[in-house]
């Protein structure tokens, strides 16, 4: 159901396929089960944050707080993890929703610019995370099944024959399916739901209408304030979910993680062809954008592994930035030529 609008996400999808093709051709083990699942597991956090950002940007806003909100949520979730998976999960989500509610209230009711409001929340959430954690990472409990949220899969439920020698293609499909990481399932589910909300509900249409013309929307009686409020709550909720996965994946709440996540999320959304001015966007293309930037990272790691070059993490950032330039410029050329036609 994620609709890839030809104009919006086409450039990004093309680049994604090219990069995957390049990786498969150049590196052994690029298209291995292990690598695919690792990429999915790690990038599911960014995918969730990007989805929230996508809705915010479609209304013409921005949410800079997602990274530190995720860090805060990871700390809260880690503290609650000894009580079980559900308390850890709900605690993390609650922290995200709380931050999102504050953002939404300040932006929609008090009419503060989103950039400023979420910048304040970003600083505050980061501070709260550091205070709660005493500036240390907070170990999550291994005694409960909390870690499954970050590391688990359903491979245990696989019937024996699919792991056998003669499992064949069908068996391999089932194996990968059940080996699919739980965080990736969560992200996939969130994207399907997000696509449904955007394309098939009144709220989703209002999001695009508000971004496309706030005054026009107000004059036709649309609940503009409520729509804006809700996208920030949604973004907070998804950042909270990402934080829970973070804690479960690394076995600890990470108060200093999340720095720069907001920029990565904005980049994914923009690469996906969503307009920063609002009014136009696609959920599916945002997922493509996240995967594109994530896989680029993996490619650089593989390239390091080849031993020809040794790129530091800083060089990877430089390359990713350059790549972002290329995609965004291509994207704007594409949209301009379709607009002119």
């Amino acid at each position: 159901m994620p609709r890839l609008h030809a104009s919006a996400g086409f450039g990004a999808l093309l680049a994604l396929l090219l990069i995957i093709g390049f990786g498969a051709w150049r590196y052994d083990g690029f298209i291995s089960e292990y690598n695919i699942l690792t990429v999915l597991r790690y990038n599911s956090m960014f995918a969730l944050v990007g989805l929230g950002m996508c809705f915010v940007i479609m209304t013409g806003g921005i949410d800079l707080s997602v990274g530190s909100v995720a860090a805060l949520s990871s700390v809260v979730a880690a503290y609650l993890s000894p009580y079980g998976l559900i308390p850890g999960l709900l605690g993390g989500l609650a922290a995200g929703v709380a931050a999102g509610t504050i953002n939404g209230f300040i932006i929609s009711k008090m009419k503060i610019l989103p950039f400023i409001a979420t910048l304040a929340t970003m600083l505050a959430a980061s501070g709260v995370a550091l205070l709660l954690s005493n500036q240390q990472s907070v170990p999550a409990s291994y005694d409960t099944n909390f870690m499954a949220l970050g590391q688990g899969d359903f491979a245990l439920y696989a019937p024996d024959w699919v792991n056998g020698e003669d499992a064949g293609f069908f068996g391999a499909v089932i194996r990968i399916f059940l080996g699919f990481p739980i965080p990736a399932w969560i992200a996939l589910f969130a994207y399907l739901l997000g696509s449904l909300i955007l394309n098939r509900t009144a709220f989703g249409r209002h999001v695009l209408a508000v971004g496309g013309g706030e005054e026009a929307s107000r004059l036709m009686g649309l609940p503009t304030d409520r729509t804006i409020f809700l996208v920030y709550v949604m973004s907070g909720l998804l950042a909270g979910m990402a934080g829970v996965i973070l804690a479960a994946q690394f076995g600890a709440g990470q108060p200093i993680e999340g720095i720069g996540w907001e920029l990565f999320a904005i980049a994914s959304v923009v690469v996906g062809g969503t307009l920063l001015t609002g009014g136009k966007g696609s959920v599916g293309a945002t997922l493509v954008g996240t995967l594109l930037l994530g896989i680029l990272f993996t490619v650089l790691n593989f390239e390091n592994g080849m031993g020809w070059i040794s790129l530091s993490a800083y060089w990877q950032s430089v390359l990713r930035g350059g790549f972002l330039f290329v995609v965004v410029i291509l994207q704007s050329r594409l949209t301009r030529s379709t607009a002119a036609a």
Partner: protein
Amino acid sequence: MATQDMAVAEPFLSMQGINKSFGNIPALIGASLEVREGEVMALIGQNGAGKSTMIKVLNGFSRKDAGTITVNGAPWAATSPEMAQRGGISTIFQEINLIPFRSVTENIYLGREIKTRFGLLDLKAMQAGARALLAEFDIDVDVRRPLGEFSTAIQQMVAIARAVSFEARLVIMDEPTSSLDDTEVGVLFETIRRLKAKRVAVVFVSHKLDELYAVCDRVTVMRDGRTVAVSTMAEMTKLQLVATMLGRDLAEVRRAGATAFTEGSRAIGEELLSVRDLGVGRRVRDASLSVRRGEIVGLAGLLGAGRTETARAIFGADPHEKGSIRFQGKETDFAAPADAIQAGIGFCSEDRKHEGIIPGMSVRENLTLALLPALSRAGIVDEGRQREIVLRFIKEIGIKCSSPEQKIRELSGGNQQKVLLARWLCMNPKLLILDEPTRGIDVGAKAEIQRLIRKLADDGLGVLMISSEIEEIVEGSDRVFVLRDGKMTAEFDGEAITEPAVMDAMAHAHGEVA
């Protein structure tokens, strides 16, 4: 009409035969403007008459396609407002384009700061200079304070003083009084008289007739991209001025029966809307009107008379400070458009592009956006019913589009307007407020929309129609209210609705409602 009196002196500014098109739409067709030294020239015309384009061509903002401009006898070739300013022509825009956070001094000296020997700013010298400059206009303010702390009038004076200090020989003022109160207008006029005394020429754009007579020497009237009249203020009555602006004296360019409105069926019902003594900001001071079921009520007035502001206040889009609004017999005070819509009112804005359509969305989505909650079951939009409604309206009111999925921005103005009308009609409103329903729409589509409006009223809808086209008001309305400077000055009914009567009410301040 009156011709220019060329004998007196070579004019300071002379613009002749100016052509300018945007795309293939002509904005100026052989337009002309002449201003003499020390003269205050009024430049008037309706929306789209070409005043702003004329000013932009002069101050270098736009490039003319054809024609000649001379200043002081020499050819004028400014390609930017900065260049025009250096050449002695300054423009004071409606929105003051100075920097409110910086001091008065800084604003006056921006871009040509006085420096000390060491290359640092010489604040003392600049402050003294600013004080001396403002003193010429009898303004005594603390020049160290941020400009934004002062009243709009003072800010405007500072802008004018800045312009004059550039050795301006001609100052263009684009609706300078629109945000000033009466005392502030007085101060501005005094400033203009001082400019006049310094032999500076002024082009004064305003829609308030009284102001023109108070401060201007001559008037240039534009219509449809042409200069249609030049005259001294004394030789032209207000009624003549309005008639020239609206083009009602040039019978030869008029088709007989200019609009597609027919006589209403006159099955007029009970009162729907009643507005008493409405006051909104500075623009609307005392507006009263009423609309009954099955009736088209025209709201006439010159630009800036407060028509749109009145309509927006009724709809709850802007708050009103005084007066009462009754809808269907109940006292109401809509806090937001959503409340007015709930009660059964629809509003089509004059600014179709920014306040009407959502350009990136399809015809289907634009048509049903406001209706979506009613079309949803368990939060999910029922696309079958949505499609059914869209197809019905496309057929019923003849929206020409390749499919319901076509983007609305690709449609013609007339078809966009039909989609917006359908957006309200599918919600079964009782009252529809239409602000310039046929602006920017070609002749054929215009007639269709006018017929549609008539039919809707005959079916029992109450319509409040704002229009700057006098024939649309006169032929289309069952009753007409006239606003002048924010005050309701006249009401006409049936046979009494004639062009001379309505124009007369637009031009003159009568004591009481007729």
